[in-house]
């Protein structure tokens, strides 16, 4: 007997979607030869942002926990890569393996105080943790203090390799988000988000699920941070451990649609491409435009662009069918 593609309630089973994501990723990776060096670089950056956004989305969209501490994990990953590469001479596989591990461990450690907090308190707590880490690294001479660190150029991958790695990381992140959206784990995580008490009443170990989402988010963010380190080569605590990463991840998810797999992809495209590329020359104006966009979206499309677009496309389809 063949395994049906869909669950009895009509949702896709996991494997077709994951297979599709893997196929697309393979396609994207195969296209690297056809891309110019600039496109490779831009896409790498975008894919790194996509990883961060999906990590944030898993925690916030499916777990209901809004984090402003992305920099603690992403920055942790970046520092982990740079320190390992420059001090131990470890190669790419080892350093990029260690980055998500560090992110996961950091999340595990922070979960003890943070996961007791709810709502705004959790959000502020993550911010405090990230800021404390930044303040500490400023004084940590071994990690370069305020000067920051550089990854040895000789040991860093070239543009095409970085792009392939970013494709891999993005596949992992989108796959993880897809898995969270469609698996039993994600289903229970969403149940905990919607009504913690009722979920506990149905036998779901709520704390464990929140923890899992937090650790998954930390690991993916750490991986993204490691890639960013290889791409940026040189970084310092002000940028790498500042709140900018959290804000961008939040922005991309809110703009695209929190709690959907495609939302962060759309959000990454819009926020990164439109704002940092098209408006690059108009710094202060781009701030104003960014702010306006955010306010307008939460005011008029609080679900984000993607759900709005699918709903619109859906009604359009129905109308077309009727007229046909």
């Amino acid at each position: 007997m063949t395994i049906p593609l869909r669950t009895p309630d009509g949702r896709w089973r996991l494997w077709p979607g994951l297979a599709l994501i893997a196929a697309l990723a393979a396609g994207a990776a195969a296209a690297s030869g056809a891309l110019g060096r600039y496109e490779l670089n831009v896409l790498t950056t975008m894919l790194c942002y996509l990883v961060l956004a999906q990590a944030w989305n898993i925690l916030a969209g499916y777990g209901g926990l809004i984090s402003l501490g992305v920099s603690a994990f992403a920055g942790g990953g970046a520092y982990c890569v740079a320190l390992l590469a420059s001090h131990t001479g470890a190669g790419l596989p080892l350093t990029l393996g260690a980055a998500p591990l560090l992110g996961a461990l950091a999340a595990l450690a922070l979960s003890v105080p943070l996961l007791r907090l709810r709502g705004d308190y959790f959000t502020i707590g993550t911010l405090a943790a990230a800021l404390a880490l930044q303040a500490w690294v400023y004084n940590w001479d071994f990690a370069g203090g305020s000067v920051g660190l550089s990854v040895p150029i000789a040991r860093s991958p070239d543009l095409a390799q970085t792009y392939l790695l970013a494709c891999g990381a993005a596949t992992l992140a989108v796959g993880a988000a897809y898995w969270t959206a469609y698996s039993t784990f994600g289903m229970r995580l969403r149940a905990v988000r919607d009504n913690e008490e009722a979920a506990a009443g149905l036998g779901v170990p709520t704390v464990r699920y929140r923890l899992a989402a937090f650790v998954l988010c930390g690991a993916l963010s750490g991986l993204a941070g490691g890639l960013i380190a290889y791409q940026q080569i040189a970084f310092e605590p002000g940028g790498m451990l500042g709140p900018g990463w959290s804000i961008n991840a939040l922005l991309m998810c809110v703009v695209g649609g929190v709690g959907t797999v495609a939302g962060p992809v759309v959000g990454t495209l819009v926020v990164y491409y439109l704002l940092t590329t098209l408006l690059a020359g108009y710094d202060a104006v781009s701030l104003v435009v960014e702010g306006l966009l955010l306010v307008l979206i939460v005011r008029f499309a609080p679900q984000g662009i993607w759900p709005l677009a699918t709903r619109y496309a859906g009604t359009l389809l129905v109308r077309m069918r009727r007229t046909a």
Partner: protein, 286 residues
Amino acid sequence: MSAAVVLNGILLGGLYGMSAMGLSLVFGVLRLVNMAHGAMLVLGAYLAVLITAGTPLPLPVAGACAVLLAGGLGYVLQRHLLTAMLVRGANGPLVATFGLSLIASGLVALRFGSDPVSIPTALGTAGWSLWGLDVRAAYAVSFALAGVVAVALHLTLSRTRLGAAVRAAAADPRTADLIGIDVRTLYALVFAVASALAALAGLLVGVAFSVSPQSGTSYLLIAMAVVVLGGIGNVLGTFAGAILLGVVQTLAAAQFGGGYRDLVVYILFFVVLAVLPRGLFGRRLT
């Protein structure tokens, strides 16, 4: 040496308290983490500079105008944008206030560029001797003002009928509405007062130090730490938390070197939040 350091920390705490008062009020009453608080603070200072430059008004009058303008802006924003989102819940308002802060800092940068602005007045450079210790007049004045504002806010909230209405609207807006309290106007009023206080804090920061379009974030973070230390919506607690933060900051700087100042502050912030999420000085406003 430590007496001078502690006194300086206490007085500096006054300035921090001023910066945090509005954030605490909005968090306590509206349950809203106002990410635009820092931007409003910066806007207050720039508005004062703009008014002084564009009109013949003397600085104190211009400052008062800036504070009032900020209050009016806050009223309009809350009334026509944020309340509807608050009613809907979720994280809309937080993101919206963040968007507002981007707009505000973008506009300030467009109009003034990125150079720091310092509000020129004798207060910024005057100094007094208290108990044989030299202190800055700007700190002492900020401390006194913050103390007066904290006590006045506390008394208003705890002793007057308006304050009771605010507390009622914070605790249970539906019932408050039912017994004849105009909750939307009250919310807008609270946000207006908070914005005006932020602008006043911005003026004091501009007088004591200087302000640039980017300073909003650092004062927002300081204010958040103060609010968490002091207990959300507890104005006297906010004042006390600010003093504590000021003292801890200056002591940390004196003890470990200035580089460790932020580290100690954020660790304190984090630990208090993790251990005593309701703050060191007790309950919420309600």
